[in-house]
């Protein structure tokens, strides 16, 4: 009887699944019971009410109003914004470095090719945490004191306390410029559609790039002039021991940004290289045979095909970069992990609650990006005939 059940595929699978679910549930039950016991021993229960208590600590970089009397919840939001900030600029930098290095790796010029090779291998074979610490150390120990700051055209100042730059102070009328930019964008899009339709109908070509480019530059500038220059720059001024005013990029932010950009850039370079190599040589030849020039062949034939190979792994590199930005805690940049998972946790002692929030936040980011990626992959995948 027993052997009969086991021999039948369906009943065998049912038995295996029942065993698996029992094991997993009892494991979870074991952990939950232990947690409840432990919390009881500590004499408290899991509660998120501490989020609304004052945080009692300062955060040096905050884009929204924040001081030590603000709540832990607000500290978390500041952390999320800081993570987003470094991830956003890191992604920009990594993409730029990646494309330059990736194309250089394919260059027929021996020197360019070798320099890119050495750069890529050194960048990606050294741990990211080491890069962050190395850059942070270089800035903090090797840059001059604010007193002897290295001035770049009296515009930006490099010091061991960060880079000081002029900060644009915007007046309310500046919104007019933003509106002008939006109008220009809409106009550019309409003209692009129009030119394309015209070309499909008659074959006549308009200088779309020139027209749209000048439109995008000219209209906001015009608005800026008409509104009477509703913005000015606040320059950093040296006072006492340090610069006052202006925009400050802290050493932590710069170190993190460079390290993330260089490290991820090296990975993106390999992805770009593989993507371009994946486009078969016949495609290039066919494009030339049609009489396309080199840049048009690249833009219209090779790049669209290469991008299909490049984009999915590149997005997962972006995700990696965002997750790696959590290493900010090593140099004291106040991101998600350092605020709610670091100081808030240590001050309140609510490890369970704080860590669950951190994990949930990162899961949200990752799952939404992978959902987007699945959608994108479906959209661009080749339809077999």
């Amino acid at each position: 009887m027993m052997s009969n059940i086991w021999a039948d595929k369906k009943s065998r699978q049912t038995i295996i699944q029942i065993i698996v679910i029992v094991v997993v549930l009892s494991l979870i039950g074991f952990f939950v019971r232990n947690t409840l016991n432990n919390l009881e021993l500590l004499g408290r229960e899991a509660s998120y009410s501490f989020l609304f208590a004052p945080s009692n600590y300062d955060i040096n970089q905050h884009l929204i109003e924040y001081d030590s009397r603000s709540t832990h919840l607000r500290a978390t939001v500041v952390g999320i914004i800081n993570t987003g900030l470094v991830a956003f600029f890191g992604i920009m930098l990594a993409t730029f470095i990646g494309f330059v290095a990736g194309v250089s790796r394919l260059s027929s010029n021996f020197l360019v090719n070798r320099i890119a090779y050495v750069f890529v291998e050194f960048s990606r074979n050294v741990p990211i945490l080491l890069w962050i610490l190395l850059w942070h150390g270089l800035i903090v120990h090797n840059m001059p004191h604010p007193k002897q700051a290295i001035a770049a055209y009296d515009f930006a100042f490099l010091t061991n306390r960060g880079i000081y730059m002029p900060k644009p102070l915007l007046e309310p009328a500046f919104w007019g410029v933003v509106v002008a930019l939006l109008i220009a964008l809409a106009g550019a899009y309409i003209f692009y559609r129009f030119a394309r339709q015209k070309q499909e109908l008659t074959g006549e070509q308009y200088p779309v790039y020139w027209v749209n480019g000048s439109l995008l530059v000219a209209l906001p500038l015009l608005a800026f002039w008409l509104l009477g220059f509703p913005a000015e720059l606040e320059y950093p001024v040296f006072k006492g021991f340090n610069f006052k005013g202006g925009l400050v990029l802290s050493p932590e932010f710069i170190a993190l940004l460079i390290a993330l950009g260089v490290y991820t850039g090296a990975f993106i370079a390999e992805i770009v290289r593989a993507g371009i190599l994946a486009v078969s040589h016949g495609q290039t030849e066919a494009a030339f045979a049609l009489g396309l020039k080199a840049n048009l062949a690249m833009r219209l034939v090779i790049l669209p095909q290469a991008l299909r190979v490049i984009v999915p792994p590149m997005i997962s590199q972006y995700l990696n970069l965002t997750k790696n930005s959590s290493l900010a805690i090593a140099v004291g940049y106040m991101d998600i992990v350092a605020t709610i998972g670091g100081i808030s946790l240590n001050q309140t002692g609510r490890a369970l609650e704080c860590m669950s929030i951190v994990l949930a936040l990162y899961l949200c980011i990752s799952l939404s990006i992978s959902a987007f990626m699945n959608w994108y992959n479906k959209r661009i995948s080749l339809v077999d005939r």
């Binding site: 698996v20 020197l111 291998e121 290493l327």
Partner: protein, 372 residues
Amino acid sequence: MDKQAHNNGMHQELPPPKMQVGFAGWIRKNMLSSPTDVLLTVVSIYILYKIVPPLANWVFFDAVFSGDVKHRNECREIAAGACWSVIVARFEQLLYGFYPVHLRWRVNVTFVLLFVALVPLLYDQVRGRKYLLWFTLFYPAFAFVMLWGGLGLESVESSKFGGFLLTVLIGVTGIAVSLPLGIALSLGRQSSMPLVRLLSICYIEFFRGVPLITLLFVASTLLNYFMPPGTYFDLLLRVIIMVILFAAAYIAEVIRGGLAAIPRGQFEAADALGLKYANCMRLIILPQALKISIPGIVNTFIGLYKDTTLVVIVGLLDPLGISGATLADSKWQGLSTELYMFIALGFFISCFAMSRYSLYLERKLDTGHKDQ
């Protein structure tokens, strides 16, 4: 008129133009083939000129290598470059951490024998591979006894472990255990049993969705909550477990890609031969899937090995932890670049070697079936 050196209707062979062959030809072809090429070469030479000589001066020519220097200020008096004396002074710590000095031979023996244990796994042409494989099988137990003590050997607490010893220990253990776990998870994800599939997906997505550092925090702060009151287990062990669980999820995704690339016909052929699930996987599917996934697997291993540096954030004394302690010493304050560069070199060598090995393996296993 001279006598003709060649027959009528034939010209004597001329040497190829000088600018087309040899060194000059190579330079012309690879560095000066077009105006853009010339420009790129000039820019590259400028960049090299800006980077290489100062770096070489700092690293070699203006640097202090002497082990007699015991303070950073002495270094500064001798030369303006790097002060490698800090590495000389802390070399043993960077390698072993605070492992007792008189027992360090045990670490060395274990490390050397690691390569003996690896040989039969890495190269299948070795003579006596069968016997070596038995050694490999028993190596983990042997290494455990050698490192932690027991069976008559003096025991060492894991809080004494540090430096590159810790890196290699966490890295090798993580690699060895996460591969089978990852294979099991990837098979679970492909399984026809919905519950098993669902659980595998949840596991993989969770561990891939959060940064390793948060998991290490969970290991260091939360694991006590999940265990019966009063249980204590070692921080090092907790960290190793987390690293394994984390890497297994990534390995599973890599192998899933390999499995997806196997044509359906292979499964059907295995069924037609009457193979059971286990044999079908072991003999037909996995050998092919693993072969396809080698680059991804090795990349995951390299990533895991590099990620071992994160343990410094939960307070283990890996090379970065040792450097932190060194930099806190007023004698060596501010020499972070020297320390980090040395550690970076250590990681670069091992990671680069791993990626080279993966290329070798790819070429060796390439059966030429891939259509070009």
